[in-house]
């Protein structure tokens, strides 16, 4: 019991710490060169002075822009202020030539080899080239952006976690793992025995690797997204491109493993003739359903993760929005915002787990539905 409390306290302190760091980071995007601070009240005072400075410079805080900057992708990985980890940019221009250079060459609106990061407009924040007529165009962009890099880190961490369990099993074959490893095994066992085996039965060995990888990758990415500083903090699962790939994989797995019975139920379901013959009403609905299933998966995960990040960012932004009303209001807002943000982050830990679980669970069920056999009557 005492140990539990210790852990909870530790988590709380860590979250407060990371959030404070995040808030400072947010402040630093407005004003560069500010040092990071830990104590909230100090932060509030400092932010106040920062805001006054900003007002002097006639550069008001724009919460919408700041929030979406934080949620969106970028070419380098901004840690704090101007401190950015450069990431590789890989683009192909109109002429079919490939370019490979560091993102630091494009920082501060610089142009390198005819490419620059677009400002306002259709391609805002993206790398664009200028063609012969002087118009901006979007090159074929394979850059390893912040999100792509974050996905790689999450993949590596997932691998590390899973292989640690494999190594444990190889070394101590018939020993039950304890502590962290025990928790990991408990999750694997829960997913495998309670979900995969109970839905897929004999075929579970065939689909378990995909489903377990899916769960652990989503879960690790979600948890990484909660860490405000460098290796984490990217809004990975709250990005449609990422969830699109996962949904696409599930879509492929579902339809590749579809049995004859599955396809028959789609194109020629067992309903009265009127519903399918002159006007193929039910087949159309069924075909529509084939696509809506993965799309629902995609949107669900995306919206949940985006929502969590958004709430925390909005709460932190409140500090800056209220700062114009004086120091007392600012201080109170800072304390309450951070407290609420910590609360939301804790809930987000839960949501991160649940969404990974739901994505996996529904994938399992859809695969199970695609593996239907004709019931012998």
């Amino acid at each position: 019991m005492k140990n539990d409390l210790k852990y909870i306290l530790l988590t709380f302190i860590l979250l407060v710490g990371t959030l404070t760091a995040g808030a400072v980071g947010l402040a630093a995007t407005g004003v560069s060169g500010e040092e990071s601070q830990q104590v909230e009240d100090e932060l509030a005072v400092r932010v106040d002075s920062v805001m006054q400075q900003e007002e002097r410079e006639d550069k008001a805080f724009d919460p919408k822009r700041t929030i979406f900057e934080h949620l969106g992708d970028e070419y380098g990985w901004t840690i704090i202020g101007k401190v950015t980890i450069p990431l590789p940019v890989i683009v192909r221009d109109n002429g079919g030539e490939w370019y490979f250079f560091s993102s630091s060459r494009l920082a501060d609106g610089k142009t390198y080899k005819g490419f620059h990061i677009a400002g306002e407009g259709a391609y805002e924040g993206k790398i664009v080239g200028v063609d012969a007529t002087g118009d901006e165009y979007r090159p074929c962009d394979f850059s390893i952006t912040k999100n792509a890099f974050s996905v790689m880190i999450s993949g590596l961490i997932t691998m590390l976690i899973v292989f640690s369990l494999v190594r444990f099993y190889k070394r101590k074959k018939f020993k039950a793992p304890r502590k962290g490893m025990g928790g990991l095994e408990m999750i694997v066992e829960m997913l495998y025995k309670e979900v995969i085996v109970s839905v897929l039965g004999k075929e579970s060995k065939r689909y378990a690797p995909y489903l377990l990888t899916l769960f652990f990758f989503i879960f690790v990415s979600n948890m990484m997204g909660l860490i405000a500083v460098f290796p984490g903090g990217a809004n990975v699962m709250g990005n449609m491109s990422i969830t699109l790939v996962l949904a696409l994989c599930t879509f492929v797995v579902i339809n590749v493993s579809g049995t004859k019975e599955y396809w028959k139920e789609i194109f020629w379901p067992d309903v009265p003739m009127g519903l399918k013959c002159p006007v193929p009403l039910l087949p159309v609905i069924e075909i529509f359903g084939v696509f809506t299933k993965p799309v629902a998966l995609m949107i669900r995960l995306f919206a949940n993760m985006l929502g969590g990040h958004l709430i925390v960012l909005v709460l932190i932004s409140l500090i800056f929005l209220f700062s114009v009303m004086g120091q007392v209001v600012l201080g109170v807002t800072a304390v309450f915002s951070v407290l609420f943000a910590v609360f939301m982050n804790l809930i987000h830990v839960l949501i991160g787990f649940i969404q990974a679980y739901v994505f996996m669970l529904l994938s399992t069920i859809f695969i199970g539905l695609a593996r239907v056999r004709k019931v012998k009557s």
Binding site: I90, S143, V151, Y192, A208, T213, C249
Partner: protein
Amino acid sequence: MSLFTPEFGLVFWMLVVFLILFGILAKYAWPAIVRMMDERADFIDKGVEYAREAKRDREKAQEDAKDLLTEARKQQLEVLQQTERLKREMIAEARKAAENEAKQVREAANLSIEQAKREAELQLRKQVASLSLQVAEKVMRKDLATDKNQMELIGKLLNELENKE
């Protein structure tokens, strides 16, 4: 907004990373983990079964031991009884043998006594005979000196003979 419109580059990298991750984990990690988990579950099941069997065996062994003990006790009792009987028999036999021996010794003694007695009698008779002969001689010498005495004696003897018949 880039959040809602899939970015081709990101989709590409995500696909690459996810497929590589899936490939590696599906080949080297998950089957091993699932197999190990199953194996351990089997092992534990077997262990429980084994323990149950061992318990059953132990109970059976205990019962056997108890049976054996009662059997042994019964045999002990029997053996004891047998020895008792044997002892008594042996004592009886010994007594009988001793009696026989004693009887023989007694008989032998009796015999020798009888013999000695007879010999003694014989000797006595011989002595008595010789003594009486001597006495008779002496008497004869003295008494048969006269005819009268001889006549009287012959008459007496004849009377005696008559009386005897």
